[in-house]
């Protein structure tokens, strides 16, 4: 919960978090090493100096570190865990649904556990999707259309097999489809950034929501165009939002383009934890005002109402989260903790 200057309590849902193991012990090959190093470059390149982690901590952090960074220090009320399997790069996978499920088990009210599928896995993959639904009752999946698999160097949402999987998602009530269309972190085929396939499936699957992670950067221009035409396409702000610190002028242009084309009801906050921690991002985001010339040119507003939507209300709608009930529960827990601590905090 973030307390705004006017005293209002703002409910925060971090839509993009990870619990990974990129440590050397888990690396299968040079790709695994390069992968975590590339993530680390994002971390060191865009974090404020005082928020930098040592490399060892970045490679593998524990449950308590994550919990404290998100919920104790970071204002986050609920975090969505997005898996990144990468079984070809890491012995036990990088950040699988199974790894993440430990957090969900220990803190059921704090986490939303998402799954993943790969349409190239055929019938076996459909069975795994069923198993994820049955075991964890997932409501969303994270997809990497650019991921390698054997001879294949990626797939499109418009492939026949993808349709089959999306039909199953619809039937099983897995209605939030997060698609990574973002900066290169994987070996990519040449169409990997192309967001055109989203346009097609968003029209075909009106009951599903398509959340385009990283807003299609580095193809923001194409993404804005598509998102404008489809009512069920959303933009995830992970990777875009840290620019608020290192390049605020760019951030102003990006967020104003997104607000202009998609509007404040279609954008979702994500820290991309552990690449970045939510506290400093949210502090800066809440304090942020669009430069007057940018606001005047685009006619968009990034006021408290818009910020509340981006930080939590939009995601609550997609994931059927009862904010009032959670506020009451978390508020009660906080009071209990304070009471147990002997009321020292009051």
């Amino acid at each position: 919960m973030y307390k705004a200057r006017n005293g209002e309590e703002i409910f925060v849902i971090d839509c993009h978090t990870h619990f990974w193991d990129g440590s050397p012990a888990n690396q299968k090959n040079v790709h695994g090493k390069q992968f975590i190093e590339c993530f680390f470059n994002y971390h060191t390149g865009l974090s404020p100096k005082e928020e930098l982690w040592p490399k060892e901590k970045f490679e593998k952090y524990d449950e308590k570190t994550l919990y404290d960074d998100l919920f104790v220090k970071g204002y986050v009320d609920i975090a969505i865990l997005q898996p990144t399997y990468l079984n070809d790069f890491y012995v036990n996978g990088f950040n699988t649904t199974e790894q993440n499920s430990v957090l969900k088990k220990n803190h059921p009210d704090r986490f939303i556990l998402n799954g993943s599928f790969d349409p190239r896995d055929g019938t076996k993959g459909i069975e795994y999707l069923h198993a994820l639904k049955e075991t964890y009752d997932i409501k969303g999946v994270k997809l990497y259309t650019a991921e390698w698999k054997g001879e294949s160097k990626g797939y499109k949402l418009t492939d026949k097999e993808s349709y089959r999987y999306l039909e199953w998602c619809e039937k099983l009530g897995i209605k939030n489809i997060h698609v990574h269309k973002g900066p290169t972190i994987l070996p990519l085929n040449r169409d990997a950034f192309d967001v055109a396939d989203v346009d097609d499936v968003a029209t075909s699957f009106q009951n599903l929501n398509f959340i385009i992670e990283h807003c299609g950067l580095p193809r923001l221009d194409d993404f804005c165009w598509i998102a404008t035409q489809e009512t069920n396409v959303y933009g995830g702000l992970a990777v875009a939002i840290p620019f608020i610190h290192s390049r605020p002028a760019y951030f102003a242009h990006i967020i104003s383009e997104l607000l202009y084309w998609l509007g404040p009801d279609k954008l979702l906050f994500g820290s991309d934890y552990g690449i970045w921690t939510p506290k400093w991002i949210i502090d800066k985001f809440m304090a942020y005002e669009l430069p007057k010339d940018v606001a005047a040119e685009t006619g968009v507003k990034l006021d408290l109402e818009a910020k509340k939507k981006i930080l939590g209300l939009n995601a609550a709608r997609l994931y059927d989260i009862d904010i009032a009930a959670h506020k009451a529960k978390f508020g009660g827990e906080a009071k209990k903790e304070k009471a147990l601590a002997g009321g020292w905090f009051r």
Binding site: H31, Q34, E37, C38, F40, N41, Y42, T44, G45, L46, E151, K153, P183, T184, I185, L186, P187, L188, N189, R190, D191, A192, F193, L217, P218, R219, L220, D221, C224, W225, A240, F243, S246, R247, Y250, H253, I254, E257, Y260, W261, T298
Partner: protein, 246 residues
Amino acid sequence: MKRPSRTSNDVRVSDVWRKLGCVTDPELDESVTEMGFVTEVTIGGDGDVAVSFRLPTYWCSPNFAFMMGEDMRAKILELDWVRSARVVLGEHMYVDAINRGVNEGLSFREAFGEEATGNLDELRKTFLNKAFQWRQEALLSHLLNAGVAGSDVVGWTVGKLYDRETTIEAHDLIARYLDRRHIGGAFDDSSLAFVSIDGVPLSATALPAYLRSIRRLRTNAEFNGALCRRLLVERFSTEPLTGCHS
């Protein structure tokens, strides 16, 4: 790794750097030398040129890496004293296929075999079109900010643009735009300076909406450029490059 030196007693080295300065990263529309991608230029006695370059991540799209390699090699070969040119990418997942393909003059598909889904011509065209639009938007915004009326500017000829080269910034913006003006159709000094990508004259009334719609292209390219610069600096512990022109 420190920022590469571009000076040498051998004037041919400067020739090569200047040629490389004309090659852009298609996604960013910025030159490969300004981005800090080119690390070394060496010249053998008989005019055998070798260039090394690097990219911000191990995974940077091989298609764009390939295009940059091809373009660099072609530019160097334009110099009449050059006997051979070898362009070598380092620390990338696809170094072997890219270096072999570029230096043996293979197509992308020939270099990557089954892994490639096609040749690069269409992709090249897409990004040339984008570059035309974002350079045009940058120049038009500059002129409008300087007080030129939209109703006037839509009627300007290419020749008229040269009269506006009163500052270094304007000169650069005009040069960059004219370098891509052919995308909107063949032109001479008496042609309209500003046309749509299909060669259609712009209308004064539709100009604000038109600019609004192409502005996101430039926002996107600038964001990519900023991200790539940061990642390059972090990856190679190099010094940030600040708008140096070669």
